[in-house]
Symmetry: D3
Subunit: 236 residues, 6 copies
C-alpha cells in the first residue's frame, strides 16, 4: 500500500492502527554500461512494496536521490550533498512522527558508507527526540549471507552479478545483454579528488552470469529477513 | 524518456545532444476526502512525461516531498522544511549542470508561494553561478487562462474541480465519488500557528462536478503551453 | 510613539499596558530616475507613525534593508540575503516577545514575494514557538482596492504613479519632476541571472501624473484599513 | 548626504566620484532611567551626518539593532544574535562593494566587545574577498583621550556622564532630569546567565553632571578625529 | 618531531623541504573498567611520533575529542558533534595547506564509522579544493591482518585484547589488572536512543590476556605498514 | 589529575564528588623566532595541571587549536575558524555538563579578543541552557597586575618578555637565545586583509631579558589568583 495512493483519511486510519511505515531511499547513479540509472531505486521500491504487502505496512514515496562519491563524476549520477540527505531524512521522519507513526523502517538501495551515515545521523536525531522506533539498513547489509550460500565471488559489488540479477527479476527490459566485468584500482587510503579512478568502469565484479532467478531469490530473501526482523523486534 | 530508465551512456548521449531535462517536483499532501496524498506528484509527473515525448526531453526522477503550511497539520501531509527544499533543488540542479545539461525545466505540482520561493531561490543561485538556462513554474501558473475559458469558479483551488479533474484524467481509480465542497475562513493577515483553520476541510472550491474530460483538456493545455514556451525561448 | 525615543521604563509600562508594536520594514532600492533610494522606507515609516498615533501603538526602529532580485544590480540597491532578512526578523520578533509584546504588526514597504516570504517564515516560526499574535503584510497588499477605485492603470507598479504619489505626500522634495514611464520585457518563466533586464528603467507603469493628493488618500486609506483590521481582530 | 535621499543615478555618480560611504550601526538598548532606547543610534547617526558633510561622504541607512549581553534582559533592549549582526554587516558591505564603493567606514554606537567582534569578522571577510578599504570603530574607541583631558571619572561608562552629555547635545528633549548613578557588582570571570546582575541599574558611572556643552565637545572631537584619520590614511 | 616544539622558522624550513605532516586524531572515551579515557589518544600519538621519526615527518598537535555514539552516555566520554569534527578537520587541513603542506596523513585512534565519515568528508573537501595529497585511516584499518596472524578472537574489539595490549606497551601504568570480558547485546538494525545498551560494559571481547609484548608488535606493525604505504605512494 | 589518565569509573567518582573541571585551551601559533609554536598551549597546560593539584580538580584534554588573525599568515600558525572554535567549545562543555560537571573553568593561552569572544559565546550558551557555573579567562587577563609590580614595559606583548619567561620556566629547552625585539606598525582602525603587517616580526615588546625566574613567579601568580577566585566564588 503506497501512501501516495491513499487519501488523508485512509492514511490516518492505517497509521492509528499501528501500521509500520517503510521509507525506500533510492538513488540516480551510473551502474556500468548495462544497468539503468535507477537501479538503486528499483531495488528498495520492490522490496518495500513486497514487504508492505506481507506486514500490512505503508510505503512512503521513494526518495530518488542520494549522496555519491565513487561514481559522482560519471554521467548520469545525480548526487546530492551529505547535509541535504541528512536534512531530508530528518524532515521526512519528523513529519511521519508528527503524523503518528511509531514504527518506521528506512531501507536504502544505495549502500555507500557515507550515504548510510547521513541517513543514520538523521534517524538517531529522531529517536533521541521522540519516543519512536526506527530500523535502518540497506538490503545489501543482509545479502552477504545469501551470496555466500549461492557461492558468489566475494568481490561481487556495484553493478555486479547480484545487483544485476535483482534488477533483472523486476525490470528485465532495462538490463543490457553486454555486461563486461569491472576492474578495481586500489589507491590505498588516499582520499581522492576523483575517486572514480578506483573504479573506472563503474562495476565491481562480473555481471556476465546475472539472471532473474538469482535476483528473485535475493529479493525474496531480503523480504523474508525483513519480515522476521520486524516480527521479532516489533511483534508485527 | 525517464532518466532512471537509461544507462549512464544513454543519458550522456542525450544530454550531449542538447536534450532539455525536466524535473517534476511533487508533494505528499492532504487533498480533502476525495483525492490521494500523491495528487501533487501525479500531475507534474504526467505533464513531464507527455512534454518529454513531445520535445525529446529527459524526465529526472520526481521529488515527492514539498514545503507545506496550510495543510501541514492534516493527516498524510509529509512536509519538509523550506531550507531542505532549497538545498535539495540546488543540489539536483548543480548535479544536472555538472552532467552537461544546459536547459532545465522545473515544474512544481504544489504551488504554494513559500514552496515556490524556495525552489526559485535555488534556481536563481544556479543561474548566477553557471551559464545555464532554467525555467521554473507550476502548471497552476498557466491554468487560470483555461479555467477562465471553461467558466470555472474563480475561487476554485486546492483539491477543487480543476485539480480533481486532472487526477481523474490520469488515475481515475484514486478519486472518490463523495466530494464535499471546501470552506474558507479568513484570518486576514495574521500569521497563524495553525493555518489549517483557514481551510478546515482541506479543499478550496467545489469538486463535485469534476470529470476526466476537463482534466484531459487541462493536462493537454499545460503541455501545449510548455511546448510553445520552450520552442519560443529555447528554439526546441 | 517611537520606541527609540522612550526610556526603558516608559517602554515597559506601555508594553505591559498591551500596546501593539509596529515594526516597519523598509529597503534601500533603486526606484527609477525620480524617486529616492529610501522610497520603501519612507512609506512604511509614515504609515507606522500614523497608525501608532491612532491606536496608541509603539513603532519599533525601521529596518532599512531588504532582499531584492529584480533591482539588485541597479545602482543604489543595497540588498541583503534571504537568510539574513529571515534571521533578522526572527531575532527582532523574539526580542519583542521576550519584552512582553503580545500583538505585533510587521509592515513591509518592499513587497516582492521573495522578500515577503522570508519575513513570513520568521513570523511563522515565532507564532509556532510563542503564544503571540503577529500580523504581517505590505501596504501594497491593501492598495489594489483603492487603485481600482481611483481608476489607476492595473499595470501600475514599482516607482509608478501610486508609489510616486505616496512619497510626494510625505517627502515631496525628494521626488524629481522628470518621470519617464517604465517598460516591461517579459522573459516568461525563466529564472534570470540578471532579472533587471525585465525591467530596464526600474519603473513599472507611468508615474508622470503622480501627485501628493493621491498619495495622501492612499496613505490615509492604508492607515484606515490597518486600524480596522487591528480593531476587528485584536479588539484595539 | 544620506543615501536614502538620493536617486539611483545621484548615488551612482557620487560613488564613482570616490565618495567614502559611512555606515552608522546603532542599537535599541536600555540606558538607565534617563536616556532613550535609541541612545546608541543617535550618536553614530549624528557623527556620520557631520562627518559626511565634512568629507563629502555618503551616509548609508543606520542599522538600529545590535547584539547585547549585559542589558539583554532589561526592558526595551531589542537584541539580535551574534550571527545575525555578522551576516547583516557582511551583506550590506558586499552590496556596497558591488555598488562600487572602495572606501567604507563603519561606525558603531554600541561598543560591547562581542558586538564589535561580530561586525569586525564581517569587515575582515570583505577585505579578504575584495580589494576595498574598510575602517571600523566605535566612537567610544576615540573618546578616552577626551575623557582624560576633561578629567572625567575613568569608570564612566554606559549611560554615564559622557554618553548622557552627547545625547543632550543632539536630542536634549529625550534626556530626563533625574539621573541616579550606576552601581557595578563584580562577578569576576564567571560567564553569567543573567549578566545584568553586574549592572543592576543599567548605568556605568554618574550621569548627574551631564551637560550638552560637554556632549558637543565630544561629538566634535570624534568628528575631527575621523576627518584626520580618513585624510591621513585615505588622502580624502 | 612535534610541530608544537618548533619555531615558526623551523617549521617553515621542514615544510618547504617536503616533510609529511601527520595529524593524530584522538578521543576522550570510556574504555571499560581497565583502560584510561585517553586510550584512543595514546595510540595515534605513539604511532605518529614513531612514524615521524622513521620518515622525517612532522606531527601536528593531537586533537583529543571525537564523535561517539555507542559510548556517548558512559561516564567520561566527552564527545563532540559530527559537524564539529568535520569543521575542525577541514579548518586544520586548510591551515596546513596554506602553510605549504602537500602531503598529509590523518590517523584516527577512534575508528567508529560515523566519526571516520566526518573526517573523511573534510579530507575530500580539501582534495577537491587544493592540489594536495591526503591519506586518512585508523590504525584499526590495518590491524585485522596482524590479529589474524596472532590468532586473536575475531570479535575482539573496543577495549579488547589488542587495544589493551597496545596501551600496555606505551603507558602500562594506566592499565588496570582487573579486566572483565565484554558482552554484546544485538539490537539488529534499530537506531537506538541509547546505543550503549548494545554494549553494557563498554568492552568488546576479552582483554584478560592482554600484554605489552603483543601491544609492541601491533604498534610496530602499524608503523611499518604506514612507512610502506607512504614510501610506495608518495616516494618518501 | 588529567582526565585522559583516568578510567571511566574513576572519572565518574571524582565528578560526583564535585571536582572542578579545568579545560585548558591552547593554540599552534607563530611566536617570533625564539618561541615554539606550542607556546600558547604550554602555558595553560602548566597552569591547569598546577591548579588541579591545588584544588583537587580534573584537567580535560587541552585543545591545541585557536582562532588567529594577526599571525594567521605566518608560518606555523594553524588556525581554525571562529565558528569552529565556538562549536567545539560548546560541544565539549555540553559533554562535561552531561557528565555531571557543575563547575568548569576554561583557561585560554591565546588571548586575542576575537578568539576569546568565540569561546565566551559558547560558555554563555551553556550557562543559559544548564544550571552550571563556568569561569572563563585567559591568564593574560590576570598578569597585568604582576607586570606592573615587576616594572615591565606596558607594551610587552605577544612573545615578549613575560610570555618568553613563562615558557622558559616550564620548557627552557624550547626557547632560543637570540630574541630580537618586536616592532608595531599601526594601521589605525583599518580592517586589514593582512593584519600581520602590523606586526612584521611576530613579537610585541622586547624578550631579550626574559628569564625563568620571572616566568616561575608569573605562573605561580596565575595559579594563586585562580585558587583565590575559585575559593571565593565557589567555596572550593
Amino acid at each position: 500500500m503506497r501512501i501516495e495512493d491513499l487519501t488523508s483519511k485512509e492514511f490516518e486510519l492505517r497509521v492509528r492502527g499501528g501500521a509500520v511505515v517503510i521509507l525506500p531511499w533510492g538513488a540516480t547513479e551510473a551502474h556500468g554500461v548495462h544497468l539503468p540509472l535507477g537501479t538503486d531505486s528499483i531495488q528498495p521500491q520492490s522490496v518495500a512494496d513486497a514487504l508492505a504487502e506481507r506486514i500490512g505496512g505503508l510505503v512512503a514515496p521513494l526518495v530518488p536521490y542520494a549522496y555519491h562519491s565513487s561514481t559522482k563524476n560519471m554521467p548520469g549520477t545525480i548526487d546530492v550533498s551529505f547535509d541535504t540527505v541528512r536534512a531530508l531524512a530528518q524532515d521526512i521522519l519528523e513529519a511521519l512522527v508528527r503524523n503518528g507513526s511509531h514504527k518506521i523502517l528506512v531501507i536504502a538501495g544505495h549502500a555507500s558508507s557515507t550515504h548510510m551515515t547521513s541517513i543514520k545521523l538523521a534517524c538517531h536525531e529522531i529517536t533521541v527526540k521522540h519516543d519512536v522506533r526506527i530500523m535502518f539498513l540497506s538490503d545489501y547489509d543482509l545479502l552477504p549471507e545469501l551470496a555466500d550460500r549461492e557461492g558468489l565471488d566475494p568481490h561481487d559489488g556495484h553493478a555486479g552479478v547480484m545487483e544485476t540479477s535483482r534488477v533483472m527479476a523486476v525490470r528485465p527490459e532495462l538490463v543490457a545483454e553486454h555486461r563486461p566485468p569491472g576492474r578495481y584500482v586500489s589507491h590505498g587510503y588516499e582520499v581522492l579528488r576523483n575517486p572514480e579512478t578506483c573504479f573506472p568502469l563503474g562495476v565491481g565484479g562480473d555481471p556476465a552470469d546475472a539472471n532473474g532467478e538469482l535476483g528473485s531469490r535475493a529479493n525474496q530473501f531480503v523480504v523474508d529477513r525483513l519480515v522476521d526482523m520486524i516480527s521479532t523486534r516489533w511483534g508485527i
